[in-house]
């Protein structure tokens, strides 16, 4: 396994769980043991959890399961049947690429902070002091969570977002507006339709020409899949490493999982990279089973979550901004479920502080995608019963 995130770690754990008793190497360039990356922008930045309380596995787990963990180690070359690790060649029966992504940076501010790794979080954490002026570029999941955590630390936070609402990749405009209101009500100076223009010591100027005082600049504009090793090896790469539904790359014996992998979309079949914990984990588990000879295509419904200002947000499926939608509950109440459909088939759902709805809807969208939207709009209908 190349990569010590949730995809690589789950692959290793699942191989053992399935009874594989050969040698297992988990190799990653990060200096820490595998940790829960989703905690960085939330509990870790808020200061409520330290890095050593978000390890994915207890310290003894690796020895107990005979998994050789090589941290701070980069795989420099890959060929059929072998990898090059720290200058020496290791024979392999299979390789799983789970190299994840790197934070994108902006040319206008190459030295700005980013948040992708535990080390990024450790750098940022001591700078989020009460009263510190934090400017965040990007209001996707990551930027919105950083803003929320910085506010919780007593910072003065400005967010610059190019779109007309935060979380635009996952939320329709009506729910985006709810998040605009949420962030502003908690004191975030959320600027929409603007971006990073230029920076000087102590200030940033946005693309509308407004100058913002700044002690710390955080750029949260997405990630770029870490495909260098795959490209260098000649694997088919299109945005991510292209794999079939079983996780096989274009080179026999080489598999991929997690943020770096483009699995066939469960609806369209087109290669599609996801950047969520749940898909990374379940892809790793599928690849492990397939490596051992099973036939388990990965077809899971995408599902992700976020927490901002104490409000739980969950999204499943691929809700499109122009899909039909019904609401359970009222947007004005701040706790609402939205269910989406296109051409009479359910496409996804969003829950805001209504986690129990999500459980039922995830099942329903997979098992009964033809369920009429109108039925789900009725709050009297128990979703768990329908599912």
């Amino acid at each position: 396994m190349v990569g010590t995130g949730i995809a690589g770690t789950t692959t290793a754990a699942s191989l053992r769980q399935q009874g594989y008793d050969g040698r297992l190497l988990l190799v990653g360039s990060e200096p820490h043991p595998p940790y829960r990356r989703t905690a960085l922008s939330k509990e870790v930045l808020q200061g409520t959890k330290k890095l050593d309380s978000v390890w994915l596995k207890p310290a003894s787990w690796y020895a107990d399961h005979d998994v050789e963990l090589l941290t701070g180690t980069t795989v420099t070359a890959l060929s059929p049947g072998a990898v090059q690790v720290s200058g020496s060649d290791l024979r392999t029966d299979a390789v799983v690429l789970a190299t994840g992504g790197l934070a994108r940076r902006l040319t206008a501010s190459p030295g700005a902070e980013v948040l992708r790794t535990a080390d990024d979080a450790q750098t940022l954490l001591p700078r989020l002091l009460p009263g510190a002026r934090i400017v965040v570029v990007g209001a996707g999941f990551l930027g919105a969570e950083v803003a929320s955590s910085a506010v919780a630390r007593g910072c003065s936070v400005t967010v610059l977002e190019a779109a007309q609402a935060p979380l635009g990749r996952v939320l329709p405009p009506s729910l985006g507006a709810l998040y605009t209101a949420l962030h502003r009500s908690r004191g975030v100076d959320l600027r929409l339709g603007t971006g990073l223009g230029s920076t000087r010591p102590g200030t940033v100027t946005d693309t509308s020409g407004t100058v913002h005082a700044m002690d710390v600049l955080v750029v949260a504009v997405g990630q770029a899949p870490q495909t260098r090793l795959a490209e260098q090896t000649g694997l088919l790469v299109r945005d991510g490493i292209v794999v079939d539904a079983h996780g096989r790359t274009s080179l026999p014996g080489v598999w991929a999982a997690g943020d770096v992998a483009a699995f066939p979309d469960r609806v369209t079949g087109a290669p599609r990279r996801l950047e969520h914990w749940q898909s990374a984990m379940s892809q790793g588990a599928s690849v492990a089973r397939n490596l051992l000879g099973a036939d388990t295509p990965w077809t899971e419904l995408p599902w992700c979550w976020s927490s901002q200002h104490g409000v739980d947000l969950q999204v499943c499926g691929n809700p499109g901004t122009d899909d039909d939608l019904v609401l359970r509950g009222r947007v004005e109440d701040g706790t609402v479920t939205a269910v989406f459909a296109r051409d009479g088939r359910l496409t996804g759902a969003v829950t805001i502080d209504r986690t129990s709805d999500m459980r039922a809807l995830r099942r329903l969208i997979v098992d009964a995608p033809g369920t009429p939207l109108a039925l789900l709009a009725d709050e009297g209908v128990d979703l768990a019963q329908v599912a």
Binding site: S53, V54, K57, W277, W305, Q314, R359
Partner: protein
């Protein structure tokens, strides 16, 4: 009997219900759930759960 919530995805472990799918019998208190057990929904570690107070 207490309820423990996964901080990551919101799944709730109810001691009264246990989680029989993983061999955890109904009535198993949290401290007796194995340390390497993970959230059945999202796979987060046992240490990522917090106790929630439930109105009686």
């Amino acid at each position: 009997m207490k309820i423990w919530r996964c901080q990551q995805c919101g799944y709730e472990y109810d001691e009264a219900q246990g989680w029989p799918e993983d061999g955890i019998a109904p009535g198993t208190p949290w401290e007796d759930v194995p340390d390497d057990w993970s959230c059945p929904d999202c796979g987060a570690a046992k240490s990522d759960f917090d106790m929630v107070l439930v109105a009686a």
